[in-house]
């Protein structure tokens, strides 16, 4: 965790952290981009790491949950890494507690947030509505936005951006497809010469 009370204006959920921690760009993200999550998301990461086996078949969902969660937790514990957490009060419970904790943050501390990044499309809509209700200028976007920040600042190449999007597409199925497709349509970066045909239209 970054020292003191540092908080960064990009708020990320559990599944976003796991997805980017499993990507080839995790090192660059934890080196260059400031991120904030919640104590509730941290607890979800801990639960994933405990409930899934380290020896799950490589590439399986339990494998990704285990190793992605552990990588994200290691970054949270590292003072030199710009990943920090805020405490959500009251602490939400249940299956969507992580997402709910982000929604609470948006309502309670809107001035501290510029972007909210979630893996779940319905969750993004729910938080977008919370933002609209408050008339705030907070953008709710898909996880490839973190890859885009690196690309936009010349920290990675177009190839690296495309490959990270391709990884996400393959791993996350329809969920990842929606996230990556929205990114490609929102910013017309052509990945057709880099990705296999089966990952592209």
């Amino acid at each position: 965790m970054a020292g003191g009370d540092t908080r960064y204006p990009i708020l990320v959920d559990t599944d976003t952290l796991i997805a980017v921690a499993n990507s080839s760009l995790w090192t660059q993200i934890t080196e260059h981009v400031g991120l904030t999550t919640t104590n509730v998301c941290k607890q979800e990461l801990e639960r994933h790491a405990e409930e899934t086996r380290e020896t799950a078949p490589e590439g399986s969902r339990p494998y990704r949950l285990h190793h992605g969660s552990r990588a994200a937790l290691a970054a949270l514990a590292d003072d030199d890494t710009p990943l920090t957490q805020v405490t959500s009060v009251p602490r939400p419970h249940g299956a969507d507690a992580g997402e709910e904790s982000l929604r609470q943050e948006v309502v309670q501390n809107p001035e501290a947030i510029d972007y909210v990044i979630l893996m779940d499309a319905a969750g993004r809509r729910s938080i977008r509505r919370a933002v609209d209700d408050q008339d705030e200028d907070i953008r709710v976007v898909t996880p490839p936005f973190l890859f885009y920040i690196l690309y936009d600042n010349d920290l990675i190449s177009r190839r690296e951006f495309c490959e990270a999007c391709g990884e996400l597409l393959e791993r996350e199925g329809w969920t990842g497809y929606k996230a990556v497709k929205a990114a490609w349509e929102g910013i017309p970066i052509d990945c057709s010469d880099i990705l296999d045909d089966n990952l592209l239209p």
Partner: protein, 103 residues
Amino acid sequence: MSQESLDDTIKFRAGPLKEAANELDAVHLGGINISELGREGLTEMLRRAMTDDDKIAIYERYSAGDISEDAARVLLGEEFDLLQEDTEAFREATETDTSDYLV
């Protein structure tokens, strides 16, 4: 959905389905709209029959102009609108100075 597509008919052997629908229409207070139920029922079953891979293929076919937006909406429902919202949000997000978020 356009009026033209509403006028199209789908035919299948209804047999006892037709009898059941007519019976319900007769006993239900105010009757039932069999055509409306048929459209809603088929929409629901089409969506239920789709796998995630099917959804990806349908959206790709829509993007390539091979199927209409109306048909894509029947199959993808709210997911279709969520994708459009996400695209717009991503576009807006890339118009800001992203160097502000580097540490």
